[in-house]
Symmetry: C2
Subunit: 413 residues, 2 copies
Amino acid sequence: MISLAEKGNILKESEKKLAVASTHEKNIALKEVAHSIDQSREFILKANSLDVENARLSGMKEGLVDRLMLDHGRIDGIIESLYTVIKLPDPIWKSDRVWTLENGLTISKMTVPLGVIGIVYESRPNVTVDAFGLALKSGNAILLRGSSTAIHSNVALVKAIKEGLQKTEIPEGVVEFINDTDRDLVLEMLKSNDFLDLVIPRGSGALIDFVVKNATVPTLQTGEGNCHVYIDDTANLHDGVKIVVNAKTQRVGVCNACETLLVNRKVAKEFLPMAYEALKDKVELRADEETREVIPAKSATEEDWATEFLDFILAIKVVEDVDEAIDHINKYGTKHSESIITETLGNALKFQREVDASTVYVNASTRFTDGGEFGFGAEMGISTQKTHARGPVGLEQLVTNKYLVMGQGQTRK
Amino acid sequence: MISLAEKGNILKESEKKLAVASTHEKNIALKEVAHSIDQSREFILKANSLDVENARLSGMKEGLVDRLMLDHGRIDGIIESLYTVIKLPDPIWKSDRVWTLENGLTISKMTVPLGVIGIVYESRPNVTVDAFGLALKSGNAILLRGSSTAIHSNVALVKAIKEGLQKTEIPEGVVEFINDTDRDLVLEMLKSNDFLDLVIPRGSGALIDFVVKNATVPTLQTGEGNCHVYIDDTANLHDGVKIVVNAKTQRVGVCNACETLLVNRKVAKEFLPMAYEALKDKVELRADEETREVIPAKSATEEDWATEFLDFILAIKVVEDVDEAIDHINKYGTKHSESIITETLGNALKFQREVDASTVYVNASTRFTDGGEFGFGAEMGISTQKTHARGPVGLEQLVTNKYLVMGQGQTRK
């Protein structure tokens, strides 16, 4: 078996060619990979059924088994997502800043690939192909480390990717897979500063925490979302109900779903019954005492304010004003997506400025924080850290820059 | 003594006010700090003389003692650098990207402060004030951890800074100093993800390595510069000599100085004697065999190619063509600043595209990689990493972004 260091060398050498490949060459490669996956359907599905069987034998919950399972429809989806990436503009070797110094030097800040990206992820095998597609289009080589539960599916998918690349100008070594579920090897990967430029963890809070705490390579945290909707005293209450229902229930297992509803005291008696009617059949409510004087709900604990339920559960709290709402959000939130429903300009501006989060909404659902919705076309995840990239991570966030300086013999005085 | 966690809380709370302070308030604060330092000259110089005395007693080399020492002229310099920052445009709450989605949502990508920045640095006390000034103007609180050798100077400077801030709207808690030289406390600082958003090491390679290897907080590596000048076969040789002399000798102890000269074989016999004449009195030359057939030089070792001399020493190697030059640079370089001297368009473009470095020059000295020279006004250092910021780190690199989304009741379909 090839060692991690050898894989690192292959990735670095292959990335040199990918970094200077034309957009046409990269798109051809993505098409060949899509074709190869299409041709390898039976092989991939057979490998996947082995993973599914092992998962059931080990007692995995059916909800999780469903995330792991592939069928023809899902393979169609994987192929479609490659075509989405083909259609996106190439983010490499562009500039939005060129300037000339007094001494005549012209500086261009150009976009260039990061280099080699590592990704540590769980369960869903489509991540293998999605992450590869985004990396390739942005000129980055990628080292994949999936979970042991999806190992057969991932090996089959990577084989199909490599077979596709073999028909193109892009070396197959731009993608490597760690076919080993040894934890020590992940640790080695996280400390491979000599060949890895970035590591992205995708999965549970525990996985992200493990990566961030152990990596010496820079990481991009695509973290939890404990998101809030705050109903201000001048809110359009009908819009408020519609937005809370959407933010909470349109899809519950996602990071941009609403987990806590904050309601201004002045409108609590009017708004809470409206919200209750709209939510009660589907959602378990956990509320503070003041809310429970108006509508039926379980009693909320301190822990509920800090929890990303990812479920049909909503915490509710009555607050004095926009300041108390902002304080609550900045104390318990995860800096992901936060929304105020208000008709008061000053409160909208205050909330936008003072809430510390990647995305702050006025009069809209938190569910829009997404690379696709933002118009980025596809995303590697949603960053909840402040360095490098914050919010949806699309192709434009998978780059770094290089300053080109054009001179005519200039020296420094 | 206040614990690190308590300092973290003070910094976080103080930063909330700083983050939304107006440019006017921040500039007034910087002026008051400059005034306070001016008023505290005797106190600062007395503290500094204690550090200098201790350094000499402990046998510190005079070159290093000189970096530590303050006098009235150097305090003038510290004050001037605060006025430079006052004149720079405020980097906060600006946008170069506002767009509207089909559903009517308008998204603005705004600049916001990172939050709390930590800096771990060595020796020179002016870094204390420079780093504080850049952090304050960019809305960031700062935790300073200087070296034990400058402890009295730094304590005096931080006292003066805080006294200045007390006269303003900006809380003095936006700057805190670790008045303790315990290494365990640095380790604790490097793992303080709950209140630190970024750590910047400034100093020796060993310090940077220690920080990068131990931090779980994101780091910004302001690293070594093993920079090259490559003389191509069509180079204007007179410009080439002028640029090599400037890049090597204009200032030797800096990261953008040239450490290795690469010369195309076709012009080696003509160029090397010209370079030798210009360098021989000042610079020790360490060269490969082919160079030594043309000019006198010591024999270069493998280690020389990889060394940042920071001294009047230059390694020289003859190469076949631009490809060999690029390979050599990508193998031994530190991705800092690289220059090609050529009149051939294709080679200039190839070098720009394929050399992996923060700044790539055509026909100019590597010495221009600098926040001041680039027009950024001031800099926190020069980043040699690819994530977050690459190249000179000025005010515009000390920010992150927040997406503001303005709606009228939109929900996700």
